[in-house]
Amino acid sequence: MTYDLPASASITAPAALPPRGLDGLDPAFSHLVTVPAAGDEPDRTWHLLDNASQLDALGVTPVGTILCVHGNPTWSYLWRRLVTDATAHAATAGAQAWRVIAVDQLDMGFSERTGAQRTLPQRVRDLGALTAHLGLTGPVVTLGHDWGGVVSAGWAIDHPDQLRALMLLNTAVHQPAADPIPAPLRLALRPAILGAATVQTPGFLETTLALAHPALRREVKAGFRAPYTDAARRGGIGGFVADIPVDADHASTPELDRIADGLRSLDVPALLLWGPRDPVFSDRYLDDLVDRLPHADVHRFEGAGHLVAEDVDYAGTVLTWLEGALPAIADAPAADAAATDAPTADAPALTQWSPELRPLWHQLEALADSPDTALVEMAPASGPAPRTVSWRLLSRRVTEIAAGLSAAGVRHGDRVSLLVQPGADLTAVLYACLRIGAVVVVADAGLGVRGLTRAVRGAWPAHVIGALPGLSAARALGWPGQKISVVDLAPPARRALGVQHTLREIVERGAELLGSDLLGSDLRNAGPALPPPPAPQDQAAILFTSGSTGPAKGVVYTHAQLSAVRDVLAAQYDVGVGTGLVAGFAPFALLGPALGTRSVTPDMDVTAPRTLTARGVAAAVAAADATVVFLSPAAITNVVATAGELTDEDRTALAGVQTFLSAGAPISEALLDAVAEIMPGATGHTPYGMTEGLLLTDITAEGIADARALSEAAGRSLGVCVGSPTGPARVLISALDADGRATGVPSDTPGVTGEIVASAPHLKDHYDRLWLTNEASVRGTDAGRWHRTGDVGHLDDAGRLWIEGRLAHVMVTATGVVTPVGIEQDIESLPQVARAAVVGVGPVGTQQLVAVVETTPPVRRVQRASSELAAAVRAVSHEPVAAVLVVPVLPTDVRHNSKIDRAYLSGWAGAALSGGRLRPPTSATRRLP
């Protein structure tokens, strides 16, 4: 297709310097550079930003050049912060100095108006001619945004000798033929509209400027508009849109394909920074780039959009990344630069499965012929009677699904989103995916639909396996991926939901491929129907955590790491082949087949753990002759509450339980004691961990009682003791400084309060597409895999860990750092107090503490505490409390309905105590991202 742009697009004009006074742009960086005529191309003058003379003046020699290319319809103004920050950064002792050159592409910004429509190959040549003229010979890192990303990538591919790294912000290099191009561009591309939208009016420019989150300041908008004041200045904007290769016949299509393919051969470090709120370059294009640059560091800035360079501190991120990715760039030959992607220190030992390192599906192979029970579902979806699955059947079904999924195009490394309720189906699909090397994406239903959507879109799965609710949401919300239904669907529903396969078909197809000799076809000898198994260091799963702060994060585990989770569970609670296990906590329930246990799922709604009753537990224990019971804290509360319904027979069954685990969050000693009455023969355990590191420490009911003596001796609560590190786990403390930041070198010195830093074979590998978050989570740690938990606490002389709160909730008063949990526990020791939260108001360093409490009986309206209650609270608190407020119910984080939303509460208390109305603290639902 060709376009006739308005006549004004043919008007030529010389390059010029930008007007002075543009917000955030130092005119000293602006230069005009004329590239002499060559071949058919006459001489062309560019406007560009360049900090070379500023670096000279500082007397520093740059390690290389960052070559920045803007997209459409911006200009080098987009990179003003990087030029400024890199120059300031260069002045810092010990920091890398980078020359930054940010060009205005021809016909754009303040560069020359050539009067001709430029195509992609032309633009890549233009940029090459400019860098040749500039004599840019040293190491170069490219940085591009939007179509400038394509142009800069073209330059990168054409200059392998100079290229040291590649950085891209929201860019697309490939448009799948089957998929329509993004709607906003489609509109602009309609011949009737293109000229009017892009050139004759500033419509396209203004639309783009409106994409910033938060909105751009007036001054910044004025900066972006400066070179595009009238139609004669906007020809390039129309030219760029007209140059979008909408189909295979477009003049720029071959060049775009060349660049897209060329990226696959680049092995230099790469950084992709992405704003997912982009109506044009959505996550699908990020996924495409990740596919081409699998070694790239990726950070998705949740909430940021197309103008990610305006929405977030990309400049700081870029400079930080370069420091880490290219430590010795000046000396390193290009080929060695890729070595930054080397595996972590403990990885080399884990490249092969061995008797010491068994894959997760090992028991499905070892017990493939066993008629013994693998799974019991007390309340299966299939009907009222409990359903029992033998190891033989489970193993065969996993094999069939694995073969069927392979046949349906599910490949090693593909991400598969599992939107299936826990149960036998989920278990079989999960192990099938693991076996064929697909990466399972599992999100907690507690995230809510919006959180789930973010999780699914963020992970960008190639396949979605779901039941009706999940598939409907996938359809309604436009989640990506091939859809596979675990339930049979009538053709209309199937079409409506875009379902390509059902699980039944997958199983049948798998069985067909494996041949009719069902007994002979298990995971061990499935022949060509199954691909080779994944290696231990391959990615196995992405678990979306319902983090108490910020948007959900995808936590990536490798096979070796998930196997280590299994092994630490086995060792800590002595579970293995033949153990009867009541799996009332979904994440651990899924590990049953890996452990070789006889796992029984009690009758409960897994998304609502409070539906589990004491009788339900007893029935499950009896059904599997279980000796081990894993439950979530919410389930335990209800089990204890319904203990009165237990029959003598139930009690006899429960008496056989030897180990009881509150998984998911520590529970109180009182609750553990109540469970002990129901299961008198069981040792109660409560572990400490998080999605990033399940089971880091563990403590028994007896241990809690021992620990309490320490608090009693101190005359105040020292926090919540969560016991000693489990098996191979290590726990250190990064001490808090006077500002409440965890800056201390991680150490095991007892009695020091700081951020809890953990290491274990079963720790997460990294966060998915959150490079910055990941860097923060390993900041200042030693070699090996460590994780900053975001929790604060201390170690005692016996090496036990005590939790004192979240790092984000640490308060700093005039006398120093204060952690909330100990004070809250002391306040909760008052008979008239049910629950307490202690939060800080005022500036860090001189904060005042406010206690917000629920009373027994609860009040009906939020109010000041009576003078008696306030006096009682002050008497038991070892830190001064400025105010005591009483609320009917403390607001809890919706994603953790047991965790008090302290961040919200602190803001609420601050507002109430600055003289505003005393409003009820509202539920946190309104703040869901």
Partner: protein, 321 residues
């Protein structure tokens, strides 16, 4: 040290004299009425009379200047004569007599433009935006005093916030009287967090400023107990200590501010009548947070308050028995 203390017959002044004597200083007081404090010599006179001031300053080494016209309403010229010109007269005389230390007792209201103060340190005195004639003239007085700071004469400004204690005719007596008459409302929900200063803490801080003038000169310091309380809790504590019923009825804060402004204007045309029942300044004081960062104060003055709010209320209760 030979210390001249002005305004020593007042509630805070008497306590400062006692603390200065206890610290071993030789104290001369200067005000219109006898101070009534044992151990100090009285020089009677007014800071608005240069002759009186000249006489009082003779032979002194240090000055603690408390004398001020304190009221929630009144005539601007009167405020200015005492709070600005009076301070200037004191400083001029101090310089002539070779006085080395001068503690200007000021007020946090000199920098309070009506907004909430949440953990701020002392901001510069602002005669233009401070609320009410008292605060404006005290602000100008503080600026005059700090401008006089020199290597020969070290000037420190101390701003005790909301001083209270037994014998207080300002805050405590007003609160108790109004509560007894059923005329004390809570503004809003009474949850604004406010700092206050027990009188002995204010006095010890002022004497500490005298001792630390070599370090602290040229600067202003807010002084408080460092234990902010919700305004309703503080008023309730005072009422309970005095044996009167705490306030129970509420007035919306915005209404009180508007009404305070109106009442203030009405009272301005009735000079000589007792102060208005509500002023805009008072409404703001009782309905917006104002509590302070005390770190610099405590460090520079090498001082910590000795009497907690709780202990202070207990002492107040004893005084009412």
């Amino acid at each position: 040290m030979k210390v001249l203390i002005t305004g020593a017959s007042g509630f805070l002044g008497r306590t400062v004299v006692a603390h200065a004597l206890a610290a071993g200083h030789e104290v001369r007081t200067f005000q219109r009425r006898p101070s009534g404090v044992d151990g100090a010599s009285d020089e009677l006179g007014s800071v608005t009379d240069a002759g009186d001031v000249e006489r009082a300053m003779d032979g002194m080494e240090a000055v603690i200047h408390l004398a001020a016209k304190v009221s929630l309403a009144g005539d601007l010229a009167e405020f200015a004569a005492v709070n600005i010109t009076g301070t200037q007269t004191m400083l001029d005389a101090a310089r002539r007599h070779g006085v080395q230390r001068f503690v200007q007792v000021s007020s946090p209201s000199v920098a309070h433009a009506g907004h909430s103060i949440v953990g701020d340190d002392a901001l510069p005195a602002d005669p233009e935006h401070a609320r009410g004639d008292y605060a404006r003239t005290k602000a100008a007085g503080e600026l005059v005093a700090l401008a006089a700071d020199s290597p020969e004469l070290h000037v420190v400004a101390v701003r005790p916030h909301l001083v209270w204690g037994p014998g207080d005719t300002q805050l405590v007596e007003r609160v108790v009287e109004r509560a007894r008459a059923g005329r004390l409302p809570l503004l809003g929900d009474g949850t604004a967090l406010i700092d206050s200063t027990y009188v002995d803490n204010a006095a010890s801080a002022i004497v500490a400023a005298l001792h630390r003038a070599d370090v602290a000169h040229g600067q202003a310091y807010v002084v408080t107990n460092g234990e902010p309380r919700m305004v309703a809790e503080l008023l309730e504590g005072i009422c309970l200590a005095a044996g009167v019923r705490p306030p129970r009825w509420k007035v919306p804060a915005s209404l009180a501010r508007a009404a305070g402004g109106a009442i203030e204007r009405v009272w301005a045309v009735r000079p000589g009548v007792d102060e208005p029942p509500m002023t805009r300044f008072l409404a703001e004081q009782l309905s917006t947070a104002h509590w302070f960062d005390q770190r610099r104060t405590r460090r520079d003055l090498d001082w910590t308050p000795e009497v907690s709010v709780e202990d202070g209320l207990a002492r107040l209760a004893v005084s009412y028995r």
